[in-house]
């Protein structure tokens, strides 16, 4: 029921917030810092992608749990489409992050715990999608996919959010590095960052809802 948002007010909100993020994110003055310079604006785009991915994967895990409880095929559709959109957001997060790394660390990719964890997280969910593809029976696919999804989600959280904090990492917010919140002295950045997070999460939910509706129509046409 989590995604059963029939009203459209949140879609207007989403459009407004994303447009605001793009405009304000590129135009509002940003703190002048050495090395970071203007790349600090990437905070408005890169970080919300990962928040959005995490929220979507959480939605996916909740729907998998619901599926195991009630065996409603609609829950399975939500679980898989939320995971698909989550993986897509993760790819965008990797791309924006690697662009940022090129201009601050001097390289697109470096062997850093946080970066590797992000790549492994993508692999886990691609394995989930491949696993689902190996079943022909719809019920079996949904049930076993749900079990793998629930097994994978806590591990995903531990590698993305817990383990990189315990080791040495270049990534802001990890390995003793300060996160961006310490840089924005006058909280100007928060005025763009929080709306950006909400806007992109709503966008991800919207994508998922559209994909699920498409799948439901396809199912109806098949039967």
């Amino acid at each position: 029921m989590i995604l059963n948002l029939k009203n459209s007010w949140w879609k207007y909100l989403c459009v407004i917030l994303v447009i605001y993020t793009v405009l304000a994110g590129l135009l509002v003055p940003s703190p002048r810092l050495p090395i970071l310079n203007e790349t600090i604006r990437n905070l408005y785009f890169h970080v919300p992608m990962w928040f959005c991915m995490t929220v979507l994967l959480l939605i996916s895990a909740v729907h998998s749990a619901l599926y195991l409880g009630k065996a409603n095929i609609k829950n399975d559709l939500y679980a898989v489409e939320a995971a698909n959109t989550g993986v897509f957001m993760g790819v965008l997060g990797l791309l924006t992050g690697s662009l940022w790394a090129k201009f601050t660390w001097g390289t697109f990719w470096t062997s850093d715990p946080k970066l590797n964890a992000a790549a492994v997280g993508e692999l886990i969910y691609i394995a989930y999608i491949i696993l689902r593809g190996s079943f022909t029976d719809e019920q079996q696919r949904a049930r076993i996919g749900a079990i793998f999804n629930l097994f994978a989600f806590p591990i995903f959280i531990s590698i993305i959010y817990i383990l990189p904090r315990l080791t040495d990492s270049l990534h802001p917010g990890n390995g003793g590095n300060p996160a961006f919140s310490q840089y924005d002295l006058d909280s100007r950045m928060r005025l763009v960052f929080y709306p950006a997070v909400i806007g992109f999460i709503l966008l991800g939910v919207w994508f998922t809802q559209l994909r699920v509706r498409l799948r439901l129509i396809e199912n109806k046409l098949e039967h």
């Binding site: 715990p113 692999l123 886990i124 190996s134 793998f148 629930l150 994978a152 531990s158 315990l166």
Partner: protein, 226 residues
């Protein structure tokens, strides 16, 4: 009463698995030979005696060999018995007892394999380890983590028609967090750091093991029912 009978079931099931393994020794023999071949390939392709291999490479090769051997050893835990026999177990024992017994049995199997593999590897590639006790703890914790992850994944893979490449793509990304902590712990043991510097790793490994075990325990009944 219920808890007592579950314990009895677990002990019986572990005994049954041990007896089966003992009767069909070719399975464990083949995994041992697999490890032996892998170690020998490493020896031939690197071509130097271990004393000159840098510790990081030594450790990486060892864990990769052990990882694949463990995947091979655990994969068969749900395929050595046919569908009818599994249905028969389903009517006899609770799924919790079954998964716990499989995890215990696989932990035993993988730790046995890891110690034999370690002896083989040290014999051929040399031994840079300074803190043997720590490395042994590392092997034990690692074996338990490998088996509790791979047991559930092998149950999933057995439902998906025993596709071995599916087993690999599902288990390798999921085992990476554990493997990273293990390698760090192993590095400490190789460098001969005191025990106190590895407490963090030990706690992380124990926490990961508990997490993986608990997830398998909760999720397996759903898998078993299908």
């Amino acid at each position: 009463m219920a808890t007592i009978s579950v314990f009895k079931e677990i002990i019986l099931l572990v005994k049954k698995d041990l007896a089966l393994e003992w009767r069909q020794r070719f399975a464990i023999q083949s995994v041992l030979l697999y490890m032996g071949c892998a170690v020998f390939v490493c020896y031939l392709s690197i071509g130097i005696k271990g004393s000159r291999l840098i510790p990081n490479t030594w450790s990486a090769l060892f864990w990769i060999i052990l990882l694949f051997a463990a995947i091979n050893a655990v994969t068969k835990s749900f395929l050595q018995e046919d569908k009818q026999r599994n249905l028969y177990y389903y009517t006899l024992v609770s799924p919790q007892a079954l998964i716990i017994s499989k995890i215990i049995y696989n932990s035993f199997l993988v730790s046995l394999l890891s110690f034999i593999g370690f002896a083989l590897y040290v014999g051929i590639m040399g031994n840079p380890i300074q803190e043997m006790g720590q490395f042994a703890v590392c092997l034990l914790l690692g074996s338990f983590g490998f088996s509790s992850t791979f047991t559930l994944i092998s149950a999933i893979a057995s439902k998906a028609g025993n596709n071995s490449s599916l087993m690999a793509i599902m288990s390798i990304p999921l085992i990476i967090p554990l493997l990273l902590v293990l390698m760090k712990f192993a590095k400490n043991a190789i460098d001969g750091l005191p025990w106190i510097s590895s407490y963090d790793e030990m706690i992380q490994l124990a926490a990961l093991n508990i997490l993986l075990g608990a997830l398998s325990y909760i999720l397996f009944p759903f898998l078993w029912r299908s």
